[in-house]
Symmetry: C2
Subunit: 146 residues, 2 copies
DNA sequence: TTATTATATTGTAATCATTACAAGTTAGTA
DNA sequence: TACTAACTTGTAATGATTACAATATAATAA
């Protein structure tokens, strides 16, 4: 899914969330970096460009954006929260070697979960963990060098 | 899924994990409390019975059991890790009102995720968030009392 | 049973992510 | 241009988890 920056701005305006310099920069970062970044990565990525930026502001901004439904939280490891500007229905794969998070297409709604028939569901998440293709290739190359 | 305590003990023995008093108590707690407890809940639940128990031991024990594949980690909220003695293929629903976690049957392997065809997958997780049936009933009763 | 030893437990201190808070700043509006 | 509610910032607080070193114990063999 392609995220259109201008659409995000309209979305913010319609929700009366002020278009502060810092928020626009965080949004811009997320639309330019599809890496499911952590708060630290966002902060470090923007710090040169916005020297006054505070990490608290990054937290505040992300919380606002999540509340507004413009950003999704990814909780895979318990010690690092990641953020995703793509709120469409998709899954995440985390490589335990290179730590990269890959998106993959999956229609979560195609499941039947009858036990939840009378439950209100706001949010559906799928994530897998393992070793990505590239890391398998890399490690077999290292072995063949022995 | 019914977890057989004796099977867990054999599993531990075969992996050369010592059957210390504290570990047995944590395992017993998990097999008796299908509530996906937090570390605090386990610690508080056992503290009367095992007064010398340390919270560090609960952490250490759970990490060992997770490494051994006897317990699964549930990361839904970023600030509370929960533990599940049921390692079978199933999904979790977290109610945002009563905070309870419900299990539901779902065959995660029934999906096709072709983009991951050459990825090694060790671990698959599904969780939903929303309002459970009981909390919806409760809140409509409160409203009708107005 | 007893002695031995590798492994486990414990309490405290350290770490790290996140939030609380209060003072200063700014976006949006009139 | 002035006003004000909302936002940003830096620091301090919080809370979960881990590191560490001293003590205790499970498993093994004599």
């Amino acid at each position: 899914m392609k995220v259109i920056y201008a659409d995000l701005l309209n979305e913010l305006k319609s929700r009366n969330i002020r278009l502060s310099h810092q928020r626009l920069k965080v949004l811009e970062y997320l639309t330019k970096n599809y890496t499911h970044p952590t708060v630290d990565q966002i902060y470090n990525g923007l710090h040169q460009d916005v020297p006054t930026l505070s990490k608290t502001t990054v937290y505040n901004t992300l919380n606002s954006l999540v509340d507004a439904g413009l950003v999704r939280v990814i909780n895979i490891e318990d010690n690092e929260t990641r953020y995703d500007i793509d709120t469409d229905n998709h899954g995440h794969f985390k490589c335990e070697k290179c730590r990269k998070i890959y998106d993959f297409k999956i229609n979560i709604d195609s499941f039947d979960a009858h036990e939840l028939d009378h439950f209100k569901i706001f949010d559906k998440n799928i994530y897998f963990k393992g070793i990505c293709r590239q890391c398998q290739i890399d490690s077999s190359n290292i072995q063949s060098n022995n």
